[in-house]
Symmetry: C2
Subunit: 180 residues, 2 copies
């Protein structure tokens, strides 16, 4: 959800043009929904009108001018507000993957808290559905039904393992904040 917040979040880590933002998503369309220019540019204009971002125009030689968008104070507050929203905790691969890109908006501790939250949610999901994990023969002959549930369980388990690895990394980073 909320393409505008993803865009805002990406701009928070570094000023960028619409084209830059789009490029960030290159090769990721199989995993997440990538905004098209038809929604990207209008969204940028909206954010500008609302005062959440500002523009700096760098005249391009031969090319159209680069319009570098930068988040304002108001923009950062809007972002913070969004992070506190229940929407951000939504259990969906789609939403989670999209939000992962915003990792740079958080401190290691905040990020760890977020991943921890997701781990808890996923774990409870796996537990709830473990009982219905049957063999292909059951499910009253519906192979498709079994396949999608098995696929889902597989994804959930894989993601759990991954989350634990990332959390372990983060914890060591938090405990020794100074780098060698």
């Amino acid at each position: 959800m909320s393409t505008r917040h993803i865009i805002l979040g990406l701009l928070a880590s570094k000023p960028m043009t619409g084209y830059d933002i789009k490029s960030l998503f290159r090769g990721l369309s199989w995993l997440i929904e990538v905004p098209s220019y038809g929604s990207l540019y209008p969204t940028l204009h909206e954010l500008l009108e609302e005062g959440l971002v500002t523009v700096r125009v760098e005249p391009g030689q031969g090319k159209p001018p680069r319009k570098l968008y930068q988040v304002t104070e108001a923009g950062q507050q809007a972002l913070k507000k969004w992070f506190a929203t229940p929407e951000i905790t939504e259990l969906s691969v789609k939403a989670f993957a999209r939000q992962l890109i915003l990792a740079d908006c958080f401190s290691p501790a905040e990020l760890a808290k977020y991943l921890e939250q997701r781990r808890t949610q996923l774990a409870s999901y796996v537990e709830r559905t473990a009982s219905s994990a049957k063999n292909p023969g059951s499910d009253n002959g519906r192979l498709g039904h079994w396949l999608i549930h098995d696929y889902g369980a597989m994804i959930a388990r894989a993601e759990l393992t991954w989350l634990e690895a990332r959390l372990a990394e983060l914890l060591t980073k938090i405990q020794q904040p100074a780098q060698p």
Copy 2:
């Protein structure tokens, strides 16, 4: 894409009501996009007008009547046509997961061919992106960028393993079509 085709495909394996279809998706919203009633019922009406499905109304006692939708010849042809479409080969978790539910529309051999296709696509994806698999330190300091790519690689690898297991199962099923 194409919610109408998913609905059509689900009806192909068994006549159902709009409510039945919706129920099939229960607990799956974290993994795939589940159509809301606001799109489900109107789509059913459209399919009916286009002659791709027929209705049989079973009067309900106290409850609204159950409207059982059933695919027609024309519907099955439309479905076959869709399966031959390049859209169906799209490399995206979202599209693939959604189509998995339609497994019952295929013979084991057809299904195997489909999974094989996806395996090939995923494998080539993993190979292409393996070179850019770096450690968290690189990626010019963009943790988010690294995270999403690592997450994607993890999902791709997990799915590959899963695909191989499912394919192995299917192949034994194809070689011994008669069950004990």
